[in-house]
Amino acid sequence: MKTFTYTEKKDTRSGFGAGLAELGRTNPNVVALCADLVGSLKMDKFIEENPERFFQVGIAEANMMGIAAGLTIGGKIPFTGTFANFSTGRVYDQIRQSIAYSGKNVKICASHAGLTLGEDGATHQILEDIGLMKMLPGMVVINPCDYNQTKAATLAIAEHNGPVYLRFGRPSVPIFTPADQKFEIGKAIKMTEGTDVTIVATGHLVWEALEASKALFEEGISAEVINIHTIKPLDEEAILKSVAKTGCVVTAEEHNYLGGLGESVSRVLTLNNPAPQEFVATNDTFGESGTPAQLMEKYGLNSAAIIKKSKAVIARK
């Protein structure tokens, strides 16, 4: 089977920062806004090179979303930067009316998503953002898996005309996708070929899924791992094709099972090819303080959880 290795770990937010800096050099219409989290979002390079195209709004996220919507009128492509919690729930109505319903070309870039921002605890660990954002008509939702893919996604969304939610995180995670990859919005990437179970994973859980597939292989179980970086629009064809072969699926995400990737996959299967599914996701709960690894373990979001759910779903076939 195809195996993946890594030589370096890096935070996905740095991939965003690198992508934004590159856009600063290549696309004069790209502007950036931040609500007092420049360092956390790794926006420093863009700001240093393009001070006139950066808007520091202070701790005022609602205003930031409105200003971003206004900046599109005049042809700018605004990238807003703050934590995922403050990029979604805090400003939902501003995004809904001024950005989504108004069809504005705003890129909502959200760091520190999920449990793995760690010690700050549940006030900052949003596990509902994918659901909130995928429900907005016309909103594209992207959750890349590593540094390289986050950088590629940042570049790609500038070329897409319409609102986008780009979700990434704080912890260092393995870099296992190519540096020169071309990011195609809505196009799933098949990481490994398999016949017994399909594992549809998003974000840094793609790495956990690959680790799981390696362990499963040693036990004689052949897992097909699909990297779903785009949750909306969902690559239904890739999922259906794989499940037609394997007959069952595990979805894996750092998000509540309610409203997440797993439910989107369930709908596709129910409409086209009903098949057993297990969910690696948080179970309708808030998070808590801890290290990322401790939290992934406690809330069942690591490769061990994926192995367990894979065996369970195969048994249901």
């Binding site: 195209r53 808007f55 205003n63 409105g66 971003a68 206004g70 009128i73 005049g74 319903y101 108004s102």
Partner: protein
Amino acid sequence: MPSTQHLKDLTTQVRRDILRMVHKVNSGHPGGSLGCAEFFVALYNEIMDRNEGFDMDGIGEDLFFLSNGHISPIYYSVLARSGYFPVDELNTFRLINSRLQGHPTTHEGLPGIRIASGSLGQGMSVAIGAAQAKKLNNDSHLIYSLHGDGELQEGQNWEAIMYASAKKVDNLIATVDLNGKQIDGATDDVLAMGDVKAKFEAFDWVVVEIKEGNDIDAILKGMAEAKSKTGQGKPVCVLLETMMGNGVDFMMHTHAWHGKAPNDEQLASALEQNPETLGDY
């Protein structure tokens, strides 16, 4: 000052449009629409420098944003009578499959509208963003916006007001419709905001007061003064004192007509007070 009779005639006509639109569908917001009729007529016919046709980016022209989107009847009437879309389309206000939604939206592609509004308190931020885009584009034209006084109770406004002065957004003229009323009653009773002028000044805005906000000549004079204060490092606020329901005797001096349509008899009486000037749609 040249004669403004043609603007006054147009105002009478748009009052008729407003009344007929809300009457037909028995819904909508005539009170605030009537109160701002003179302002809209003056803005679109005399104050703003507008290009022919409609382009979303609005490069090289002044732009207007309506934050208190519920007064869509006046917005639609003046946009139609300014040539953005056929006046006959006012017939479709709030009907199924119409571009004239209950609250203004870009979603149906109605020319003249650049942002959805209706959920209150968001327009100031959008106007600021558009103003900053103008600066980036080296476009010296201005951004105008309108906000309800009750709407200032929404906290996002104060984020935006703080930002605009801190960032020297001096190509923005934000007008507040001071009619002193909101759905549940007088603003002073619902949630008193105290001295609005002092509040804007405390946030380092330039404030221009138009005490006779239903007088075309007073509006033109006040807005000219506001325009003269732009480009000096500070955002400009116009406090426009209006009468909700202006021009229809039974709709004035009350908040009752904020979001209520007249019945057949009331419409007849209201139209009688505003005889046709430029032709009904």
